[in-house]
C-alpha cells in the first residue's frame, strides 16, 4: 500500500512538474553587452532583455541559469537548462549536436583587435600570438587559417583575452565585432580594430536540444514577431554601438 501511494505521489510530482514547468535559459554572464552580471548581481544585457521579452510573448515562465562557456553545450544536452542564449553563432558544426532558433542578431563580422601602436601586417601573419575565446567560431577559424605559422591562445572568457592583449601577452585578438567595438571605443586609443573583417557564422540564435521542437517553434514565432514590429531592432540599437540591425 505504502509503495502504491509513494508511486502515485511520485507520478503526480513528475506530471505536475511537467505542466507548470519553467523554461530555463542558459547564459554565460561574461560577454557584455550580450550578457553580463550587472551591479545588482543579476544577469543583464541585450540577450537577457531579449530572452525575457521572448518568454513574455511565448507565454513561458522563464528563469536564467549562468553556465561557463566551455561547458554550455554539454549542459544543455544534459538538461541543466532548455535553451542557450549566450551570443552563440549558428554554425554547421554546432548544428550537428544542437538545433538553433532563427537568428535574433544578424551575421556579425568578426574583427581583429590590436594594441593602439601595433603594426601587424594582416597580409602576412606569422609568428604572432593570436588570442581567442575557446570553443568559439573565432577559435575554429583562427586554428584553421592561422594555425600553421602562429600560436593560437584560447581563453576561458573573452574578457581574459582582452586583458592579455592590453598586457601585451598576445598580439591580436579575434572576436565578434559586436563585442569588440565597445571595448575598443572605451579604450581611448589603447586598442584599435585593424585588418580585414571576417565573416564567420550565420548570425546569433538560441541553442536548443534537437528533440525540443515545441520550444523551438515558440521561440521562432516570438523572434519573428519581434522582427516584424521592429522591437528587436530597437533592442539592438539600445545595446550595441555601432548597432548591427536587421
Amino acid at each position: 500500500m505504502k509503495h502504491i501511494l509513494l508511486a502515485a505521489a511520485f507520478a503526480a510530482a513528475m506530471t505536475g512538474g511537467a505542466a507548470a514547468q519553467t523554461v530555463r535559459l542558459g547564459t554565460e554572464g561574461a560577454y557584455a553587452p550580450w550578457n553580463f552580471v550587472n551591479d545588482a548581481g543579476e544577469v543583464d544585457g541585450f540577450e537577457i532583455e531579449l530572452g525575457n521579452e521572448l518568454c513574455v510573448r511565448a507565454a513561458l515562465e522563464c528563469e536564467w541559469v549562468v553556465n561557463e562557456w566551455d561547458t554550455i553545450i554539454p549542459n544543455l544536452l544534459a538538461g541543466n537548462y532548455d535553451a542557450i542564449i549566450a551570443g552563440m553563432s549558428i554554425t554547421d558544426e554546432r548544428k550537428e549536436t544542437i538545433d538553433f532558433s532563427d537568428n535574433y542578431y544578424p551575421p556579425d563580422p568578426s574583427k581583429f583587435a590590436v594594441a593602439g601602436d601595433s603594426a601587424v601586417d594582416f597580409d602576412a601573419m606569422s609568428g604572432l600570438k593570436i588570442g581567442v575565446q575557446g570553443a568559439t567560431i573565432q577559435a575554429a577559424y583562427a586554428e584553421a587559417t592561422f594555425g600553421a605559422g602562429n600560436t593560437i591562445l584560447s581563453f576561458e572568457t573573452a574578457d581574459q583575452s582582452i586583458a592579455d592583449l592590453s598586457a601585451g601577452n598576445v598580439d591580436v585578438v579575434l572576436a565578434d565585432g559586436g563585442y569588440l567595438d565597445p571595448i575598443v571605443n572605451a579604450s581611448g586609443g589603447a586598442l584599435k580594430i585593424a585588418g580585414p573583417d571576417v565573416m564567420i557564422g550565420g548570425g546569433v540564435g538560441a541553442g536548443l536540444r534537437k528533440d525540443d521542437d515545441e520550444l523551438e517553434g515558440k521561440l521562432n514565432a516570438a523572434i519573428a514577431a519581434m522582427k516584424a514590429d521592429g522591437s528587436l531592432n530597437e533592442l539592438i540599437v539600445k545595446w550595441f554601438d555601432p548597432p548591427n540591425t536587421f
Binding site: R24, F36, N38, A40, G41, Q160, A163, P182, I183, A190
Partner: protein, 319 residues
Amino acid sequence: MAGERESSVPPAHRDSDNGFWKTALSLGEPADRSHEGAQCGVRPLDWLIDIFGEDLGFWLGYLGNGKHLAWYASFRFTILAAIFGALIGLGFGLGGAGLLRARFRPLRIAGLAYANIVRGVPDVLFFLFFPLAFEQLVEWLISTQVCSPEAVAARAGSWPPCMEANWFLSTTEYLILASVSLGIVYGAFTANVINGAMNAVPKGQLEAARAYGFSRNQVFWRFQVRQMWIYALPGLSNVWMLLIKSTSLLSLLQIPDIVLWAERLGAPNFVPTAGLVHPDWRWRYYLVLFVFYIILTFLSERGFAWLRERVGRGVVAEG
C-alpha cells in the same frame, strides 16, 4: 540604463602610471561625481562621503553593490558545506571505524577498502565523480519507470534516456551532494583516525574496568570511546583543516560560491555598461579568500584547543 553607469571609474586608477589603463579609465571619468551613488546598486551613505571624502564613498558604493553583496552572501555555501561535510564525515568516520574494528572479516575488509581507496583518490576527482555518478544513477532509476521505449529510441546515445527522466540539480541539490562528497572523502580519513585512537586507549585501563565488574558494553562506551576522543582530536583537527580547504572546490559543482564570485568580480571589465571598468583584479579578490581561510584556520585552532581541554577533563593523561 547604459548611459547612467558611464562613470564607473575607480579613483585609485586615475593617476595610475599604467599607460593603457590610464587612458582607458580616464575616458569615463566623471566631472561631477555627486550623482554616482545611483550607479552602484546600493546607494553609499551620503554622510559618510561628507566625512571621509568621495573616494571612500566611491569604494563603499563599489563594495556595497549587488554583485558584491551576492559574493558576501555566497560565503554561506562554503560554511554550510564545511559544517555538513564535517558532520557527515564524522558519521562515515564512526561507521568506517566500526567496520575496521569489526570481528566479522568481510566487514573489516569493506572498512579497509573504504578507508584506503577513498583516501587514495584525489578529493577533486571524487568531488567530480560522485555527484555526477549519483545524478546519473537516479536518472537511470527514474528512466526505468517513466521513459517510453520510443522516447528512448529518439534520443539514442544521449543522456538522460528521455527528458522526463531528467533530474535538475539546483544549487541546493549540488550543495547537498557536495557535502556528502566531502563527508565520504573525509570520513575515510576520520575512520582511520578514530580507529587509531581506539587502539591508543591503554589496554590496562580496559582490563582494570572489566576486573571491577563493568560489562563489555560499559567498558566500550564509558572507557574506550570516552577516552578515544582525547587521542582522536589532534587527528580530527587535521582532517577538519583539510576539509575546510576542500570547500574551495564547490564551484566545480556549479555552486556560485566564494571562489566563483571572486573570479567573476576580479575578471577584467572593459565596458562601463557592465559595471566598474577595471583590469584583471582577480588576485585582489583571491587575497580576500586567503584571509578568510586563514581566519577560519585560526578560529578552528582555538575551537579544537577548547574541545581538547573539555574532553580531557577528569581523565588522567597517560603516555
